[in-house]
Amino acid sequence: MNSIYEVYQALSMIERVLVFLVLAPFAGGLLAGVDRKLSARLQGRYGPPVRQPFFDVLKLFQKERILVNKFQNFNIVLFFLFTVFSGAIFFAGADILLAVFGLALAGTFFILAGFSVGSPYSHLGAEREVIQMVSYEPMVILMAVGMYQVTGSFKVADLVQHQAPLILYLPGIFAGFLYILTIKFRKSPFDLSMSHHAHQEIVRGITTEFSGPALALIEITHWYENVLLLGMVYLFFGFNPWIALAVSLATYLFEIFIDMNYARFKWQLTFASTWLFTAVAGISNIVVLSIMK
């Protein structure tokens, strides 16, 4: 049953990173395709083919490059590199804290990209992204802390092979993490800064000014990010790879259902509810754990 881990153990760090770099975009793109197909079906439509996200990205690479200034694409490239970096660290089995902070840094560059262009929509989108980041970041750190409390290690390689199911110790943290995943996946009700549907008061938010290859890069970065986030969900169920994979996938489908069933919240409610949830679910879980230990 644990043959996945045997293969994983057999690979060296560099090999693991390479496998991640190659497979993650395919997995992420496929998930995005499933998302669109499933969303369409839930809305009573036929929907695009599952491969559609790949077509979109390939097309975007062929489009003309329009630059507003030099910094915008510089920032986007850094956004891409840091997301891939944190994903690589995570899947190589290194420090989870480093992966979390790498992801935060990537997010910062995305915000800077939003601010670097002139469009007011983009600025508003970036401002909202800052608010979102402040909302979800505590929960992500709490997750790393909670996992450390249970296993005594920050190393992903140790976390994933921890034989006792983490979910039993960290149910509150898992619930809180699910909550912020909606923000990270940019799903309704929290698709404030940038929505996939693009029917929004601030047009496309941060990505309003990005076109062609830059937009394709943002899209691919998003795929990497999604795979990384689902990897974090996986950790909670690391004792059994099959259950873990199933739960990761179910989480993604769950987020699609949530997306279908909510209107977009305003930032005030997003902020307040996320912190409240973090405080109630996340911190209480940590406190209970520390009392038990």
């Binding site: 809305q43 029917h199 929004q200 008061e201 977009r264 305003k266 930032w267 409610l269």
Partner: protein, 359 residues
């Protein structure tokens, strides 16, 4: 520190399919002032009366707006008929009423969909549009067109609905009603929708009256004002009741429209029961000589068609004042002090129809 920025809203904007432009003066995410600028759709069709005679002009009146197309041609025909003293056959009046109420239903469902899109409820948008197709199918079966019906004419209507078709339509209505009930339950009860709509864009009853609000906008603020009480077409034979809410916010406007859909369906039932046999049009002789302000209730509120003729085949003046034009001052008032996230909701709960507004 509050820094003032100006956010352009429109004329091309994903949540607003219509070209109206607002300069939103923002302090962070709060609107402190809104300056509308229109005329992106100004065609000047009122002067087409110089080139089309009064019978021909019905086609132009039909195309003032795609959403309330039938109502415009009906208002225009009523004005001309009034001046010329034409007694329109009763069957034609009933047929007009049925088409008018169907137009109201499809316009309101369309509005529900677009509003859902504005607050980011994609699936509700899709479901609303799907339901709207049921009404469009009825249009297609009875008039041959989906959007611009072209079925009204001076002195009656161009086509009859035979009894079987009419029964078919009426038989289909309960299904539509059941589906609509499902959707409207979401609109009324969903927490996230209430979060976006309740308390947003408040207009008091006094403001609504003095700023000249009409239609659902006025009725949501507690003014029981409905031009159908004037008893034009067949409304004098039907039980029309005003649908009034008192809270005056976006949520109230949403409720008013939802309840109006059901009321319209009820009116169609009534009309289908009472419709008499007989001719459905009248040969028109002569030309209008005189003037009249014809007032009818569109999906968006009171519309005025003013026709003035001097006895020649060409009219002297045609003017249309549409509800959106009358509602804009109230909208500007509601916009001030709202957040940028509320702007699409406030604009959309007005149900703006810019192409009528600018003619």
């Amino acid at each position: 520190m509050a820094r003032k920025t100006i956010i352009p809203f429109g004329p091309q904007h994903p949540v607003l399919p219509e070209p109206i432009h607002f300069d939103l003066v923002m302090e962070d995410e709060t609107v402190v002032d809104a300056v509308p600028s229109i005329s992106y759709v100004h065609r000047g069709l009122e002067r087409l009366i110089e080139k089309r005679d009064f019978v021909d002009f019905v086609h132009v009146a039909d195309r003032i707006c795609g959403l309330c197309s039938f109502m415009h041609s009906m208002g225009y025909c009523q004005a001309v008929e009034e001046i010329m003293g034409i007694e329109v056959p009763e069957r034609a009046l009933y047929l007009r009423t049925i088409w008018a109420e169907l137009s109201r239903v499809h316009s309101h469902i369309f509005w529900l969909g677009v509003a859902a899109d504005a607050f980011g409820f994609e699936s509700l948008f899709m479901q609303s549009m799907r339901l709207r197709e049921a009404v469009l199918d009825v249009f297609e079966a009875t008039t041959g067109a989906r959007v611009i019906l072209g079925v009204c004419k001076v002195g009656g209507v161009r086509r009859d609905i035979d009894t079987d078709t009419l029964h078919g339509i009426v038989d289909r209505l309960p299904t539509l009603k059941a589906n609509l009930e499902e959707i409207s339950a979401v609109f009324i009860n969903d927490y996230s929708i209430q979060h976006r709509l309740i308390g947003v864009g408040y207009i008091s009853k006094e403001d609504a009256y003095t700023l000249g609000c009409v239609g659902p906008m006025a009725r949501a603020s507690g003014l029981a004002m409905d031009m159908r009480f004037l008893g034009y077409a067949a409304y004098k034979y039907l039980d029309v009741e005003p649908i009034v809410e008192s809270t005056g916010d976006c949520y109230a406007r949403c409720l008013v429209r939802i309840r109006e859909i059901f009321h319209s369906i009820d009116l169609i039932h009534q009309a289908a029961e009472k419709i008499p046999e007989g001719p459905f049009d009248l040969k028109v002789k002569g030309a209008p000589n005189g003037e009249f302000f014809s007032r009818i209730e569109q999906p968006r509120g009171e519309v005025i068609h003013y026709v003035k003729g001097n006895g020649s085949r060409f009219l002297q003046r045609f003017r249309v004042r549409v509800p959106t034009f009358s509602n804009i001052p109230a909208m500007i008032k509601a916009l001030k002090g709202s957040g940028i996230a509320d702007v699409p909701n406030i604009i959309l709960t007005l149900d703006p129809c810019i192409s009528c507004t600018e003619r």
